[in-house]
Structure formats: structure tokens, C-alpha cells
Symmetry: C2
Subunit: 257 residues, 2 copies
DNA sequence: CCCAATTTGTTCGTATGTATC
DNA sequence: AGATACATACGAACAAATTGG
């Protein structure tokens, strides 16, 4: 059993949970991977000597974690599935739903991670990749005239960062930056009604990003790091000034960015 | 649109999934929080006009995500539950089970985050907190004589970092560092049998950590940042030298650190 | 200590939906 | 179109756990 090293805590697992854990152990022990088929419902009922409902609940647990997918029909069944980034993002988002994150919290992380990302990508990107980044920048080549437009530009700007992360060869860095960008994109900006679009946010953001792409193309690691560090510092300052608040809601599974 | 030969819309949700999403929406819309009770199984069966099994599967989905807990008996029921750090760690670990993380990947993140953590804590810790850190350090005040002992010291050293993270007021930073420490603690060190315990790892690690605690006590932010940065750089180098490999396995839900 | 009420947990039999051949 | 193989859903009954009298 997976928690063979079960903790002293006498917290018992329900039977479906036990079955789910047992199946996970099978998968690991037998080296099964994405696409491999688990025993059919009927077989599982036999092997575990449990009722159909119990087995089905176990499958649901694994499915909710993103570890399996099931298909009906002949040749169907339950299959091991690589946990998707969307699922992982949604599940981790559930955790932070109950934490109170502030703008400061989020930007402390961004300020630490994103410059590192930029440095690691400098000189490593292909021309199509660099052009793809420039394409996103065209979404905000003109200053926004309404708060709605500005919000759309803000999201596009976050997509720029998510795309940058996507190009990293480090899966951990990639996930973390994209996760944070998704959280920020999911924010509703609470702003006084008379507030005008922030031209400074637009112009400095655009300036930073074009300088960044230039540094990336040149292979200037230190420059890229420094530019993004400044960018983060500035974005943090401007976000705070706008009294942006992080609203608490469950992230939908579909990715925004 | 593509002909019928292509697979049917994969976005279709099964009924239990629909119910689970609907319940999540209720919780958010009505502002329910941890401890609040969901309608009973019987009520849900009525409201959704679905069979008991279907409703139960929906509850299981929410439970697998760590969002609810259920209790039997009078006064029992299904209750909204704050997603625990352990659960979030296990769920996110499932995602990285299918990614191939290298030591380099992990240390790129540690090198970016941990110095920032140290700087933010300098001068902010109470005497009991600083003493707690020093207590953990006593676990490796003597050099290890066997590979097993060295492994135990390595884990204790990771606990030091996890404790440090625990003291941060930033929930995001706290989670990320503890998550990574847990992953590293879960690693099995694959080492040639004739390899001797690495005295250098021990002595430099101990030295760094005591200098760090001193800087934290003194409130020397820049010093703390620099010490931890050097520490990470060195640990990275030594881990690579030892040909440590990241084994892929599902993290058990119980926290190691 | 037992009993009764309440609520989730489990079982079984049957029927339906869906994809493949 | 029909047969087959699989998951999906339903409903009624029973079991187990917890609380309070």
C-alpha cells in the first residue's frame, strides 16, 4: 500500500480512498505510464472484492486528481493520464483560494523568478519564438483609452510572460511563472470609477518588454535579467498604486492565458 | 466543423463532475467557508434529481481535491474544508511525477527564491524562532560516518529550510519553498557503493547555516541574502557531483518535512 | 451501557448510453 | 445495421459510525 508508512494519525481512509491509493501503487510499481489501461471495472471489482459503486468512487478520485481518464465503449476503460498543466493549476489554485495572497506576496515571487527566467533564455530563443513574443506586444502598441481596454492589455501583457515561461526548458520554472500569471489574469481590478487608464503602466510596460526582447535576441543575459527585474519592480509599484485587490474565487479549469 | 470521425467533444463533463462544479459554485456564491455544512446527501439527491451513487461520486471528487470532508452520524455531513498544505503538495507532486525534473531545474528555483526568503526574514524573527532553527542544526553538528547518516543529515538540513519558509508571512513563498524541500527530501540518492560520505557537503552546509542564523539575528538583510545564495550555489554543485538523480514516484500525502 | 436516531458508507441488480467492429 | 464491450446511471436495501438520551 502506498502509505505503507502510514502515519500514527488514526485517520482512517474510506474504502474508495484505499482502492485509489492501491491503484496508484500498482501504476508506479508496474511502471505504467500515460495511455496504459487499468483493469476494467469488472476486474477491479473482482480483485478488490468490492462493489461497483465503491470501485467507481475510487476511479473518480483518481480522475479528479487528473491521473486517469475513462472512455466508454469497446476498447474503452480507464487509462493512466499525464496530469495536465490546466488541472494542476486548478488544483493548486484551490489551495490558494483559502490563503490570503496580497499583491506584495505575488510580486515578491515574480521579482525573484522572472529575471532568472529571462537570463536563462537570453541567446537561446529561435527567431520564430522571438517574433511570437513581438506579436503579443502588438496587442498593446497603442495606449488604452478605457479601463476595459487597459484590462485587456494587462492580460495580454501577462500572456507575454506566460509565453516566455513556456519557452523555458525548466518545467518547474515554467509551471510556477505560468501559474502566477494565470492567477493575476484572474484578478478583478477593483478601481475607483473615476480612475483613468494608467498611461504610465502602459508606456513603461511596453518599453520594458521591447528592450527585453532585444536583450534576449542579443544573448545579453545580464541585461535581460536587469530589465525584467526593473520591470517587475515598476509593475509592483503601479499595481499597488491602483489598489488592486486579489479576489478569492476558484480558478476554472480552463486556462485563461 | 470536423466530421464525426474525430473524437467526440472531450470537454464533456460526466454528471458527477457537473454536480461537483455546481456545488463549488454554490460555495463561492453563498460565501461558505471552512466548517460550513453542505446539504445532506438526501437533499442533494432531491435538488439535482440524481441517484445516490452519482451524488456520492461528486462528493468524492470534491474530497479528492481537498475541498470538503465528510463525517458520519448525527451532526455529520459534508463540510467545506480548507485545502491543506499536505494535500496541495501531493496534488502538485502528481503533476511533476510526469515531468522530468533535473537537479539543475530544482536548484535554479531554489537559488532564486531562498535568498529572497532569507532577506525578507532578517531582523523579523523572534528569539524562540531563531533558537528553533539552531536546534535543527544540532542534528548535524557532527560529520556523518555512513551514507545513511549523511542522508538523514541531508533531510534535517532540508527541514531547516522548510522551517525558515514556515516563518515567512508570504503564503506563496512559504508553499513553494516547502514544496521543493519536500520533493528533495523524497529523493533517493543513487550513489556508487564505494562512495564515502561527503565531508565537504557537511562542513560547508553547517557553516552556511550558522552564518545565516547570525545574519538573521543581526537583521542583516543583504548578508542573509548573500549567504543563502552562496549556500545554494554550493549545494547545487555538490549535488551534481554526487550524481544524484530525481526518482519519479507519487509523493505520499503525509508530509516528510 | 445500551438504545435510538441520523447521516454517510457499501452492496447488489438492473438498465442505459456510447463507441467499436 | 446489429452485436459487442465497456463505462455510466439508477434505486432499493443494508451496514457502519456517531451523537444524545
Amino acid at each position: 500500500m502506498p502509505p505503507a508508512t502510514t502515519r500514527a494519525n488514526p485517520e482512517r481512509l474510506s474504502r474508495p480512498q484505499q482502492v485509489a491509493e492501491a491503484i496508484k501503487s500498482w501504476v508506479v510499481a508496474r511502471g505504467w505510464g500515460p495511455g496504459d489501461r487499468l483493469p476494467s471495472e469488472a476486474e477491479l471489482i473482482d480483485r478488490f472484492a468490492m462493489a461497483k459503486g465503491t470501485i467507481r468512487e475510487a476511479i473518480r478520485i483518481l480522475e479528479a486528481q487528473g491521473l486517469v481518464k475513462s472512455r466508454t465503449g469497446p476498447g474503452g476503460g480507464v487509462f493512466v493520464h499525464r496530469v495536465s498543466e490546466e488541472r494542476a493549476t486548478a488544483l493548486l489554485g484551490n489551495y490558494f483560494y483559502f490563503q490570503h495572497l496580497t499583491i506584495d506576496d505575488v510580486y515578491q515571487i515574480r521579482a525573484a523568478l522572472e529575471p532568472e527566467l529571462a537570463a536563462s533564455l537570453a541567446g537561446e530563443l529561435s527567431d520564430p519564438q522571438l517574433r511570437a513574443l513581438e506579436d503579443v506586444m502588438t496587442c498593446y502598441s497603442e495606449p488604452a483609452t478605457t479601463p476595459e481596454e487597459e484590462r485587456a492589455q494587462h492580460i495580454a501583457s501577462l500572456r507575454f510572460h506566460a509565453m516566455l515561461a513556456e519557452m523555458s526548458g525548466n518545467p518547474l520554472l515554467r509551471f510556477l511563472i505560468r501559474f502566477i500569471a494565470n492567477m493575476l489574469a484572474d484578478i478583478t481590478v477593483s478601481r475607483k470609477l473615476y480612475a483613468q487608464p494608467n498611461r504610465e503602466l502602459w508606456s513603461t510596460g511596453l518599453d520594458y518588454q521591447s528592450r527585453l526582447v532585444a536583450a534576449l535576441r542579443k544573448g545579453d543575459k545580464d541585461g535581460a535579467r536587469r530589465i525584467l527585474a526593473e520591470h517587475m519592480h515598476n509593475a509592483h509599484r503601479l499595481m499597488r498604486a491602483q489598489e488592486t485587490v486579489l479576489t478569492q474565487r476558484f480558478l476554472p479549469e480552463g486556462k485563461i492565458i
